[in-house]
């Protein structure tokens, strides 16, 4: 037997990384899934947060309605401040003024400021989550490249071993099996079969790992996109509402100092309309975001469960077969590896660059 053939039988193929087995792949996939479940948990937390903001907004809308009614009453009584001064010197019993519009407006402003602040903080948390997902994609990509390289190495090794095995079988046929040389050849043949089974298992496992990790990566991208869309929409709301609130803060401070009652009421009306518009925008946004969560995230979670079942099936089959690879299984594993390689050949995977997936602003709104 040639030295290169002995080398092939002895050699532990030079695979990158920590090596692979059914168990380690299971553990690895499980770890990644736990990580992804954590991300989904975060997203569910944000969904809950969104629902809380929605409930708060409903209360604010109700208060705004009350405020609007108050203002309506006040506007029906022109010259209120002037009459107040007149009454001062008239003596006698007077009615208490109904609740100050300025006071109500301030209370509403301060409540809205809290709401906008919460939304602004949500934007930054979404940004942090998105960045972490991009880091995750980078890490998964490194694993995918490693698995693909190892798969190619395994395929090449399996092909070489297949050829060697066929050659050894042909030689064995022409030799006395009970002779020392015949026994040695039989031993080499057994070793070749063993190595072939080992590397075919690895070929399948690396192929499975590559596919599964690619799937995880796609889900990670989906999560990043969902978060990106949310972030775009919340940012738009925070910017618009923040600008309005700044305007209102200035108006509120000026309202109390204005000497002309009709001017006061006019400015109050403007502030109120601006505030109402801001809260309406928020309410609309929050409702649409909830719908987006329902349509996308919940479906994604369902998809992930299906995906889990598929992974489990492949790993179980691989584990069952790894001890007894027949010709047909080896051929099938090789064909599958070649098919995967062919599928990748047409061009690089269409993976969006970090940041480019966020262009879908308004996607939540359009759902």
């Amino acid at each position: 037997m040639a030295e290169t053939e002995r080398e092939l039988l002895r050699q532990e193929a030079a695979y990158a990384g920590e090596g692979i087995s059914v168990r380690s792949l299971e553990d690895s996939i499980r770890t990644e899934r736990v990580r992804q479940d954590g991300r989904l948990g975060e997203l569910a937390g944000m969904k809950l947060r969104n629902a809380e903001i929605q409930a708060g907004l409903a209360r604010e809308m109700s208060r705004l309605k009350e405020l609007s009614e108050q203002l309506g009453k006040t506007r029906a009584e022109p010259g209120r401040l002037a009459r107040l001064l007149r009454r001062l010197f008239g003596g006698g019993k007077q009615q208490l003024e109904h609740r100050s519009i300025e006071e109500l407006l301030r209370a509403q402003y301060e409540a809205s400021a809290v709401r906008v602040k919460q939304a602004a903080e949500l934007v930054d948390r979404l940004e942090a989550a998105k960045q972490e997902l991009y880091d995750e994609v980078e890490r998964l990509n490194r694993k995918i490249v490693e698995s693909a390289t190892n798969e190619e190495t395994a395929a090449a090794t399996v092909e070489k071993l297949q050829r060697l095995k066929a050659e050894l079988e042909a030689r064995a046929e022409a030799m006395d099996p009970s002779s020392a040389a015949g026994r040695q050849l039989q031993s080499d043949l057994d070793l070749a079969r063993r190595r072939l089974a080992e590397h075919t298992t690895k070929l399948t496992l690396f192929g499975t790992a590559e596919e599964r990790i690619s799937g995880l990566k796609q889900n990670t991208w989906k999560l990043a996109e969902v978060i990106g869309h949310l972030q775009t929409d919340v940012t738009r709301y925070v910017t618009a509402a923040g600008e309005k609130l700044d305007l209102i803060a200035g108006q509120i401070q000026a309202i109390g100092a204005a000497a002309d009652a009709s001017l006061v009421l006019l400015e109050l009306k403007q502030s109120l309309e601006s505030m109402t518009e801001s809260v309406q925008q928020t309410t609309r946004f929050v409702a649409e975001t909830q719908a987006y969560f329902r349509d996308n995230v919940d479906r994604m979670v369902d998809d992930l469960h299906v995906y889990d079942s598929e992974t489990e099936r492949v790993l179980t089959e691989t584990a069952a077969m790894s001890d007894a690879w027949g010709e047909a299984e080896v051929e099938r594993a090789l064909s599958a590896a070649i098919a995967r390689k062919a599928a990748r050949t047409p061009g690089p995977e269409a993976t969006p660059r970090p940041g480019s997936g966020q262009a879908g602003s308004g996607q939540a709104a359009s759902k």
């Binding site: 001062l88 208490l96 200035g250 108006q251 509120i252 000026a254 309202i255």
Partner: protein, 337 residues
């Protein structure tokens, strides 16, 4: 520093060292002013102001907007601090452990994780900060006589006034049987609670002087007013704020004069006395007829008015300020810093 901000309130935005220096100075002024119980709580004001300091917010905000009329931060800024303190505990919970944020931020300056770490430190620093109320009323029962249906109350309203000044209105009055059907304060056992209407009434009067409020309450019926005190923090006159012209002339390039007015209308004040050189009297704006009615009301309800104002200023400005006050017939306390 840049001009602008809100469309309705003249304001100036301070940034960086100027912003930090401003907050430091106002806190020093508040400490030096020795504000008594008739003024807004100085410690709370100082704590509230501390939240706005750039070394506390760690650059999370671009600057501090100052109302040019009062020399104090605008309503928006006070609300910003109030909002942040209110959400701090919840945000800390959502941000998670500092160690984890620090790990994520490691070596990535300017990135989002660095910002989240700064936020964690900011919220941790302000979570327990005391706030000065921007509009809050409290009522305490002083004495109660159920048989005569008479109860005496002490009411305090703290408010950031429309003028941009912090105001504390302290009211002592008795609610008599006449007001029992339509009380301003609701009494259950020893628990006193103001009505919404009463709160709104006082809320609207913070821009007026104590005498106006005294008369307004005294003429409502069912109330025997003993005392109305209005304590005001501000304005703080700086070289770039809008203030009294003679005061601005004293300031030089880096001076300041902080004012703390006290305005009292009470039945136990022995004599009318005006020791406030910068008082803006409502009475002086009235027509002669209305003023006569005003004077008659003083006789009718038996109260006297006392006005005073104390100051905090750099030592170099004290002599000039003292001269200005004396020139207006007032002898005021001026704390030099």
């Amino acid at each position: 520093m840049s001009e602008g901000a809100g469309p309705s309130v003249p304001a100036r935005v301070l940034c960086g060292e100027e912003e930090a220096g401003y907050v430091r100075r106002v806190r020093e002024i508040l400490a030096a002013a020795r504000l008594g119980s008739h003024y807004p709580d100085g410690a709370k004001l100082s704590s509230h102001l501390g939240v706005l300091a750039p070394e506390v917010h760690r650059g999370l905000y671009s600057g501090l907007e100052v109302d040019l009329r009062s020399g104090l931060p605008t309503y928006r800024e006070w609300t910003r601090a109030q909002t942040d303190v209110r959400v701090a505990a919840d945000q800390l919970r959502q941000l998670g452990a500092r160690g984890e944020l620090e790990r994520k931020a490691g070596g990535k300056r300017g990135a989002i994780h660095e910002k989240q770490l700064a936020k964690h430190d900011y919220y941790a620093a302000i979570a327990a900060a005391q706030l000065s109320p921007l509009g809050e009323m409290s009522v305490a029962l002083r004495r109660s006589d159920p048989e005569r249906k008479r109860a005496e109350f002490h009411v305090v309203l703290d408010k950031l006034d429309a003028s941009g000044l912090f105001v504390r209105y302290s009211l002592d009055f008795a609610q008599t049987a006449e007001a029992w059907a339509r009380p301003v304060v609701l009494l259950q056992a020893d628990d006193a609670k103001h009505t919404e209407g009463f709160r709104s009434l006082i809320y609207q009067f913070t821009s007026y002087d104590a005498e106006f409020t005294f008369l307004r309450l005294a003429t409502m019926g069912g109330l025997e007013v003993e005392r109305v005190v209005k304590g005001v923090v501000g304005p703080l006159c700086l070289p770039w704020t809008k203030g009294e012209a003679p005061v601005r002339e004293l300031l030089g390039a880096d001076g300041f004069v902080a004012m703390f007015a006290l305005d009292m209308a009470a039945v136990d004040v022995p004599a009318d006395r005006d020791n406030d050189p910068f008082a803006d009297l409502l009475r002086e704006k009235l027509t002669p007829e209305a003023r006569a009615e005003y004077d008659a009301s003083r006789e009718r309800f038996g109260y006297k008015v006392f006005k005073d104002r104390k100051f905090v200023a750099p030592r170099a400005v004290v002599a000039g300020l003292k001269g200005l006050c004396e020139g207006r017939g007032a002898h005021n306390v001026i704390y030099g810093v």
